[in-house]
Symmetry: C2
Subunit: 185 residues, 2 copies
Amino acid sequence: MPDYRKKDLPVWEIRRFLEPGPVVLVSSAWKGRRNIMAMGWHTVMEFSPSRIGCFITAANHSYEMIRKSRECVINIPTADLISQVIRIGNTTGSEVDKFELTGLTPQPAEKVDAPLIKECYANFECKVTDTSLLKKYSFFILEVVKAHAATSPKYPRTLHYRGDGVFMISGENVNHRRKFRKENL
Amino acid sequence: MPDYRKKDLPVWEIRRFLEPGPVVLVSSAWKGRRNIMAMGWHTVMEFSPSRIGCFITAANHSYEMIRKSRECVINIPTADLISQVIRIGNTTGSEVDKFELTGLTPQPAEKVDAPLIKECYANFECKVTDTSLLKKYSFFILEVVKAHAATSPKYPRTLHYRGDGVFMISGENVNHRRKFRKENL
């Protein structure tokens, strides 16, 4: 399994990894229990505060854990973790411990009680800042309060879910910086 | 420029193209004017109704056009349109007509007055269903009321923005359907 060396990432820079739309693993903890879920329905919503919106329904075991603890960690797995991602998406935390199931390693976070997933390329520690959209839209508003990311490779090879068991794997990265006006980057 | 043959796509299947996180082009029309903006901050929020959430601030010329018309089209450009995407992101509709600027072709939609962009791989006609999150989060809730998608290739080669002028281009698609329980696909 991957063993990345990570450093702190300024929280307003998480869009570099989240905006391309990867499947993420959401880890949570509540009253001595922990869980991981796979999630593809998320978006960046602001640079500062570093805001993320994500869709998680009450059908997920993680829903109540995140809602009650008001915390979670957004972890970005790379393509070599595809088997673990599929297993996580195919089981429920009400029956199994997903860390034991997958062999992924929980690590203490700095600003939340939810665990980081060691083998993931990046880990974004999040506080839930708004639960008012849960009833109508199952939509959590999160703020990233601490971010960790691998230093190499520069960009991860990520999984992007299309539904129906099909994943797109991220391809090459191309830099067109000089074609942009600075204010539009 | 690409010339796709398209057919109707059931609106609950748009996640196949949107969930992987591509840059999209949002077209709008209001009082005889039209516009296109590039957008990377969006998420699927429900299958049925086919709901999308997206972040568009008042700094965008499209904001008032979408807010007032309560309509837009989400168009998915392929990687061969990268120059047009950058130009669209680098100019404002208050100064130029983005269709004239880029040579992209507006086509009549079926259920909204906003134009489809002919050269894009897919076009999702949307109604704005909730503007109550604009003040706090600049977040539009949309419902896809009609969807069109190219029949070939099966999956588009899309652009995924990382910020700072860097795009990730979508890579290979892998099918792991048989590893999933049906209810988790």
